[in-house]
């Protein structure tokens, strides 16, 4: 399938046609190779210029061709004018974690030319807008230059400044299609779906712009480049049949499917799109066909304190209720989380993590709220957390969060992050088990209460640590005053040691007893391996790729990704079996490692942190470098630096 087609160079470059390795990295370094279905592409544009649709078009076209692909949006906390990037990685083995270093760079932002150009791998390709000459000092001898007069062509071809700017983006998509051999029919099909008959003029403009870019490079360069996209054939890995979805959309669908009826929230990146999606789905799926009225209440609260209070109030009144926020919001919600924990009110909290502390970097990703969520609020608290690793899990875990919250009558956190929540991931299609029914937990119905002569809200009648609850308004016998102040098992106010302790001890047991029913850890044992890589959330791709590379150098690891907290017994057992454990996560202080140490009793010294927290999704190189640094520095427990926060 590989066609040798070295590009003719538009001038200056000497790296024409260089293929394969030669990017200056070690065998376990940045990339394993470069070629058909094995390269990374970065597009540098200016925020607010409409480049997102062009980037989405390229990404989706590659995805439709069945090649394993991922797209990462690296965007600023800004509405218009600041630099923004879109990164696409294609990898025939399915390793699509973010990778630093790019084979093709589309430089559309003059302000970031210098740093963008520096990121092109040796022998790679730089596509730039040649309407203006590229400054000599920006030229790199070891890179192929592909100049396309995008602005010039679009000014000639289109009327109006807005459309010219928009079409300039679509034109680079056309150029990339030619260079990377992206199927034009697929692109045209996508445009037809987007604009259809309703927006004929836009469809025409887009098609014209695609042709402008496509024809220009086809006429002047050898197309396609040696790095390019091909439909997987034979036994090659194909991702055909998958869907492209972001985690927040998936989580929102999960909330719809779980039967959530009350959503309260306060806007914050990167969680906003979750509630937006819920609203959109509710608009079609929760409209009463007869009355046109909504079977869901979506309340934009005045702040996160209120959003949490509404969630807890609705949970108390019997609805499946949730809120979605990010770190700053969780900080504000903490008082209510403690109330829901102690008063035992089912409630679901989505934390789409972003870089902290404080406002931090709002549009960059991190896993920095692991400890915050696990122990949110003052007093002795400990919360059930679910950690989805991709959008498919966001859907599943959203549903499970409501079941678990109802069953254990407690707040449940779904701890996602910006990378999982906002980037499009290619995952198997979401599925729904028609036999599913919500687990509403232990609720005494009006009929049951009618046959009882006493009811006490916090009495452990079944010995499982979970007391029965009642829905307000259903029956006088079920009535009680819910409170966050000291209470006995009978629900009465107390300042008495015994009455207080009895209840908080039961709650502690109750939370612990949830461990076996939470999503079980993903585990993989490699024969002969004595060390392990342990991670959480969206790091899985990077860690698995790192395992492959380390394996090539004879270093073999067992693998575990935790998906629920409190940790299952199997987590402790797994850790205890390893000689050395590297805990890979995206925060500065090794929060998962702290949690594992505190919660499993496995000696902290045997758990070694491998950290990246610079705000971009984790890459295999962070894992490889971190692990090698630790191994090189000696036996477990030695204080080797394994933080790779400085690496892009």
């Amino acid at each position: 399938m590989i066609r040798e087609a070295p590009a003719r160079v538009s001038g200056g470059g000497t790296g024409a046609g260089r293929r394969g390795k030669a990017d200056g990295r070690s065998a376990t370094g940045v990339r394993s190779g470069r070629g058909v279905n094995d390269f990374a592409l970065k597009i540098a544009t200016v925020n607010g210029t409409g480049s997102a649709s062009a980037n989405g078009l390229i990404m989706k076209s590659i995805f439709r061709m069945g090649a394993p692909v991922s797209g990462k949006n690296v965007f600023p906390s800004n509405i218009q004018g600041l630099p923004t990037w879109y990164e696409i990685r294609i990898n025939a083995q399915g390793h699509v974690a973010r990778t630093p270093g790019f084979d093709v760079l589309v430089a559309m932002n003059g302000e970031t030319y210098e740093r963008d150009i520096a990121e092109v791998a040796e022998g790679g390709w730089l596509l730039y807008d040649s309407s203006w000459p590229l400054a000599r000092e920006l030229r790199r001898e070891d890179v192929n230059h592909i100049g396309v007069p995008l602005a010039e062509m679009c000014v000639k071809r289109f009327e109006g400044s807005r459309i010219r700017i928009l079409m300039k983006n679509i034109a680079y998509a056309g150029a990339l299609a030619a260079l990377l051999d992206i199927d034009l029919d697929v692109i045209r099909g996508l445009l037809e779906e987007t604009f259809g008959a309703r927006k004929r003029h836009l469809l025409e403009a887009n098609n014209t712009a695609i042709d402008l870019g496509h024809n220009y490079v086809t006429e002047r360069y050898d197309c396609p480049l040696p790095i390019r996209v091909a439909r997987p054939a034979g036994d090659e890995l194909s991702w055909e049949g998958r869907i492209l979805m972001d985690g927040n959309t998936a989580a929102a669908l999960g909330c719809i499917y779980a039967g959530a009826t009350v959503a309260s929230w306060y806007p914050i990146t990167p969680s906003t799109s979750l509630v937006d999606a819920f609203g959109k789905f509710a608009g079609s799926m929760r409209k009463d066909p007869d009355s046109g009225r909504m079977r869901a209440a979506i309340i934009q609260a005045e702040d996160e304190l209120a959003a949490a209070g509404m969630t807890v109030g609705a949970g108390w009144a019997g609805a499946r209720a949730f809120t979605a926020t990010s770190g700053p919001g969780i900080s504000l919600m903490s008082e209510f989380v403690g109330l829901a924990y102690y008063a035992e009110v089912p409630s679901v909290f989505f934390d789409i993590q972003r870089v902290g502390p404080s406002t931090g970097m709002p549009t960059r990703t991190q896993q920095c709220d692991l400890l915050l969520c696990a122990y949110a609020s003052h007093g002795d608290t400990r919360h059930i957390c679910l950690y989805p690793g991709d959008p498919a899990e966001c859907f599943d875990f959203a549903v499970r969060a409501f079941d678990v919250a109802d069953r254990f009558q407690t707040p449940v956190f779904v701890v996602s992050d910006l990378d999982v929540g906002m980037n499009d991931w290619a995952v198997p299609p979401l599925q729904w088990d028609p036999a599913y029914g919500p687990d509403r937990g232990k609720i005494k119905s009006a009929e049951e209460l009618d046959r009882m002569d006493r009811f006490f809200r916090y009495l452990d009648v079944d010995g499982d640590g979970i007391a029965w609850r009642t829905i307000p308004g259903e029956h006088p016998l079920g009535a009680h005053l819910t409170r966050g102040s000291g209470h006995t098992k009978y629900g009465t106010y107390t300042e008495d040691a015994e009455g207080y302790t009895e209840v908080v001890d039961r709650i502690s047991e109750k939370i612990e007893s949830s461990a076996p029913v939470l999503p079980e850890p993903v585990m993989e044992s490699v024969p002969g391996a004595e060390m392990a890589l342990v991670t959480v959330g969206g790091c899985e791709g990077a860690v698995r790729e790192a395992m492959d590379r380390l394996g090539n150098s004879g270093l073999h690891f067992n693998y575990m990704r935790v998906r629920g907290f409190p940790f299952a017994e199997s987590v402790r057992e797994f850790l205890a079996e390893q000689k050395r454990v590297f805990v890979v996560e995206q925060n500065r202080d090794g929060q998962l490692r702290s949690l594992l140490t505190t919660e499993t009793g496995v000696a902290g010294a045997s758990l070694e942190p491998v950290l990246y927290y610079g705000g971009l999704p984790m890459s295999a190189v962070h894992v490889v470098d971190g692990v090698l640094a630790r191994l090189g520095a000696g036996p477990a427990g030695s204080p080797a630096p394994a933080r790779t926060g400085a690496v892009a």
């Binding site: 439709r64 869907i243 492209l244 979805m245 669908l253 719809i256 499917y257 039967g259 009826t261 009350v262 309260s264 799926m285 929760r286 009463d288 009355s291 909504m294 079977r295 869901a296 209440a297 979506i298 309340i299 609260a301 005045e302 304190l305 209120a306 949490a308 209070g309 509404m310 969630t311 807890v312 109030g313 609705a314 949970g315 108390w316 009144a317 019997g318 609805a319 209720a321 008082e335 209510f336 008063a343 299609p429 979401l430 599925q431 729904w432 028609p434 599913y436 029914g437 829905i471 307000p472 308004g473 029956h475 006088p476 079920g478 009535a479 009680h480 005053l481 819910t482 409170r483 966050g484």
Partner: protein, 358 residues
């Protein structure tokens, strides 16, 4: 309004309401507040109001924040669910509960610290949403539960127990409510049940947020000479602007209202229909008054206050505004009770939808 038979006579004590219940069925646990605390009188007025409306006790949701005042949901309606939540956040909890189950009658009890300091934002937003809630501020000018610090409702010059004057201007919930669009604004006094009970009954019937500021003296920390929230000071300066009564059902109206629209001359009355058909009869007390005109209400309250008086009564009502559910356009049934089949679109819809993501 047409005139008819005699208005309901309320006999407290062992009389029975339409459900055959006495006020005993509307009481709660023994109060643990200080003897003589104004809040206990508000509780008693609430018991009477709920009893007189023949509301099924278990169909009420009692919501509160934190403070002596917020403890009172324990002392009425033993057969109702209640939620004594966190300081200043009753409005949010009530908003969520009401979203989940719009059928219950919600009574929110708060204090001046709870609502005018820590919870000021939430109170304003509950007003803005016109949440269907009777919102009581048991206003004593101090933080009772934390032992008597001035609250945001303390008047300039009022003295603490140790004689220290307050120097900061108060936040007046009545002015605030009127200015940000509250659809029902009243002020009462815990020491005047005759005035308070009809305000509470009308407030419960009002569709939307009924804001009732109740001067409710703290006998322990703010009932001394020099305090403007003491029993004595309140009695001396108390000035009813209107007298209101809920006529329910409306055919109990004795005689035609003299005024149907616009201002009421002193001593005369006007009937205003609430959304459920019951009627609030207003009588203007000392001067002309239009209880449906926000501007007039605000001006009168200001004028009386400038004279050092405490204007009281049901001061303003807008019976036609939509509540939070109208804005959200939610179904009639309580959301919590919708059958799962009506909520979950099912596997076919999901697999069809996947095409959109291919």
């Amino acid at each position: 309004m047409t005139s008819i038979t005699k208005p309901r006579v309320v006999h407290p004590g062992l009389a029975k309401n339409e459900l055959g219940l006495t006020t005993r069925s509307y009481e709660g646990a023994m109060s643990t507040l200080c003897a003589g605390c104004g809040h206990d009188s508000v509780t008693a007025a609430l018991v009477e109001a709920l009893w007189s409306l023949s509301i099924e006790p278990h169909r009420v949701g009692k919501m509160s924040g934190i403070g002596c005042s917020s403890k009172t949901p324990g002392y009425f309606l033993e057969q109702s669910h209640g939620f004594n939540s966190v300081h200043g956040r009753m409005p949010a909890v009530a908003t969520g509960a009401n979203a989940a189950n719009r059928e219950l009658t919600y009574i929110g009890v708060s204090g001046d610290g709870d609502s005018l300091s820590i919870g000021l934002g939430q109170m304003c937003h509950a007003i803005r949403r016109n949440l269907n809630l009777l919102y009581l501020i048991e206003n004593n000018g101090v933080y009772g539960l934390t032992k008597g610090q001035f609250s945001a409702s303390a008047d300039i010059g009022t003295k603490s127990k140790r004689g220290v004057p307050n120097l900061q201007a108060p936040i007046d919930p009545v002015h605030l409510g009127l200015s940000i669009g509250a659809t029902f604004v009243a002020r009462g006094f815990s020491g005047d049940k005759t005035q308070l009970v009809p305000i509470l009954t009308a407030g419960i019937r009002h569709k939307g947020l009924a804001l009732v500021d109740i001067i409710s003296p703290c006998v322990t920390f703010n009932d001394h000479q020099g305090s403007t929230k003491s029993y004595q000071h309140t009695r001396d300066h108390f000035r009813p602007a209107t007298e209101a009564a809920l006529l329910d059902p409306p055919d109990m109206v004795e005689e035609m209202a003299t005024i149907n629209v616009g201002p009421i001359p002193p001593g005369q009355f006007r009937d205003v229909s609430l959304h459920d058909g019951s009627v609030v009869r207003f009588r203007a007390m000392h001067e002309e008054y239009d209880p449906t005109d926000r501007g007039t209400a605000a001006a009168l309250v200001r004028r009386l206050q400038d004279r050092g008086e405490i204007p009281t009564g049901l001061l303003f009502v807008d019976p036609d505004a939509g509540d939070h559910h109208d804005v959200m356009n939610t179904v009639e049934e309580p959301l919590w009770s919708l059958p799962f089949e009506d909520l979950c679109p099912g596997s076919e819809v999901l697999s069809d939808m996947m095409a959109r993501f291919r």
